[in-house]
Amino acid sequence: MEWLAQQLAPGLIYPTAGAILFALGLYGLIRRHHLVLRILALNIMGSGVFMVLLGIAARGEGPPDPVAQALTLTGIVVAVSATAFALALVVRLTRITGQAVMLPGPPDDHAPVDDISREEHAPSAEYDREHRE
């Protein structure tokens, strides 16, 4: 029993589970197409990384490693920022194309070009129009 508990110490099984989560997220990322699902898959991969890190921090005797915990905290905040931005992109893409999946391949040669340096591209003029009404 003692032996089993040692073998299944948190310092070992949590990192293992973290690695599995990472692989699982990778699998989901490859398989799924809806962008929200892909973002979830990336988040799960990220959680896997944090689990490995915290599991490692909890290894051995003594209190856990505060540096590893601080890094995890940083990582979580970075992940939520990236997720928020990614979701904003998904909404934008869906608004343009009507679908929350990526366009296949590179843009074709006849897709319209919107050159922000041109005169006709002037959101501020548009803005003025809207607000005069």
């Binding site: 893409l93 194309t97 040669d109 319209p112 922000i116």
Partner: protein
């Protein structure tokens, strides 16, 4: 000068980081003046990078003592974070400053709408600050954070035009970047689990060949290869770089991709150096040849100016992969690779800027319909051609010197008795011909007989900056000795 330089150096390094961050924050808080902050700030940052490089060269006569490490907040590693400056990062900092300055000046003309200016400049300044910090970072976890700073701001800039292609390209770019970052982070975590430190120099001292190092090397390299668009993980590059606004494409192809490559190089010269085997080198080299052929073929087929340039980035990065087996035979060859990357970045950025000017004039960038604009805009075509010559590796340009050094390294492997060296040499030499093919596709219509049409008026910045940067790319041919000397000031590197 020589006496004071070593003492001044840490202050100058911290100062550079603080300066680039302060500019970004200032532009964020005061968006109405962001373009002025960015324009003047670009000049100041460039000046301070040049000052830093002068200090660095004055301070570091011996290669072994040349790396300057600055403990942030006064906390030395392993507890704290260290900034790390050596010849390699110095070279790339200067490159970043030059391309960054050119891009900033160009953007003064390119982003004209008052509302878009407010969005563009803060993001661009964050991107630049992120690149500077990436190059100066000496800590594995901090590298992950700086990579995220770079990729988030880069993605936002890619989506800037707001077309379906641009947003979709940005989306793909973001997913790929997050995946790459996570893979990199997992590698960092594994290394931390084994050795309990994050500082790269300390890690290098502690690594030996073991399962952790192998797996970490695979994860980190794969993550960075995704970000650097190295073959076969390049599929995101053309959609993203091809549909971003021109100055952004210039920075992405010139600096961001190079930054990821810099990290790969740094890791394989540092902690992972013992893991490299000849078979691994040959595998990477073969990937490089494939990238060269595939990228060039796509560039020869693509119908849009910016797509051609984007695919040429895939092709040119093939050389960087080909350089890996050369480095295994002659470790000194790493300097050649860096020099090549520098020269490529300069040339590629100016090609993108020139393409942006032409697209602005024409309102589209379909090569087949561009003849009239090309014939009327001699100055821009000249810039395109000059930078193109550098990409082909013909004299008098930086590309020629880089190609010379690559060929020298390639022939060196043959002389060292490696038969596969013949393949590398043929690829290095033949790649220039392929480059000539796609550069001609862009330039040749200017020489056709036909009508001329200057298209929409172009601001002086957009007219002259591409030419200026192309001249710099060409003049880099005379910077070979200085660059190689700076690179020798990298301790730990062969």
């Amino acid at each position: 000068m020589n006496e004071a330089a070593p003492a001044m150096l840490p202050l100058a390094i911290s100062g550079l980081v603080a300066l680039s961050l302060a500019l970004a924050i200032l532009a964020t808080v005061w968006p109405r003046q962001a373009h002025r902050i960015g324009g003047y700030g670009a000049v100041v940052v460039t000046a301070s990078v040049l000052t830093l490089s002068a200090l660095f060269l004055a301070a570091g006569p011996e290669p072994e003592s040349a790396a300057t490490r600055v403990a942030l907040g006064g906390w030395e590693a392993p507890l704290g974070l260290m900034l790390h400056l050596d010849g390699l990062s110095m070279t790339l900092l200067v490159l970043t400053a030059v391309v960054g300055l050119a891009t900033s000046l160009y953007s003064l003309g390119y982003v004209h709408d008052p509302i878009e200016r407010r969005q563009f400049w803060p993001l661009w300044l964050w991107l630049w600050a992120g690149l500077n910090m990436l190059l100066l970072s000496g800590d594995a976890f901090n590298l992950y954070i700086t990579l995220e700073v770079v990729s988030l701001s880069a993605v936002a800039l890619v989506a800037f035009t707001g077309t379906a292609a641009a947003v979709s390209g940005a989306m793909r770019y973001l997913l790929v970047n997050i995946l790459g970052s996570l893979s990199f982070l997992m590698g960092v975590v594994l290394l931390f689990g084994e050795h309990g430190v994050l500082d790269l120099v300390l890690l290098e001292a502690r690594t030996e060949i073991g399962p952790t190092e192998r797996m970490a090397a695979v994860l980190m390299t794969a993550g960075l290869m995704v970000k650097a668009a190295l073959f076969p993980l390049h599929v995101w590059l053309a959609p993203a770089h091809g549909s971003a606004p021109a100055p952004v494409s210039a920075v992405l192809s010139g600096l961001v991709v190079t930054g990821s490559f810099y990290l790969i190089l740094r890791l394989w010269m540092g902690p992972f150096a013992p893991l490299a085997t000849p078979a691994f080198g040959i595998l990477v080299g073969l990937l490089g040849v494939a990238a060269l052929v595939w990228g060039s073929a796509q560039a020869l087929r693509a119908g849009r100016l910016k797509s051609i340039v984007a695919y040429s980035t895939v092709a040119q990065f093939g050389y960087l992969l080909i350089a890996f087996p050369l480095m295994l035979v002659d470790p000194e060859a790493w300097k050649v690779v860096v020099f090549f990357a520098v020269v490529h970045a300069l040339a590629k950025a100016s090609v993108f800027l020139a393409a942006g000017t032409l697209q602005h004039a024409a309102g589209h960038d379909r090569v087949a319909e561009m003849g009239a604009i090309l014939r009327a805009r001699g100055r821009t075509v000249f810039a395109l051609g000059l930078a193109g010559v550098s990409l082909m590796g013909l004299p008098f340009t930086g590309g020629f010197i880089a190609k010379y050094l690559l060929l020298e390294a390639g022939l060196g492997t043959i002389l060292a008795g490696s038969l596969i060296g013949v393949l590398w040499v043929v690829a290095i030499a033949g790649g220039g011909l392929l480059a000539a093919g796609y550069v001609l596709r862009m330039v040749a219509p200017a020489f056709h007989h036909g009508p001329r049409d200057a298209g929409e008026a172009v601001s002086p910045w957009m007219d002259w900056v591409p030419l200026g940067l192309a001249v710099v790319a060409a003049a880099a041919g005379f910077a070979g000795t200085l660059t190689l000397h700076t690179l020798t000031l990298t301790p730990g590197a062969p």
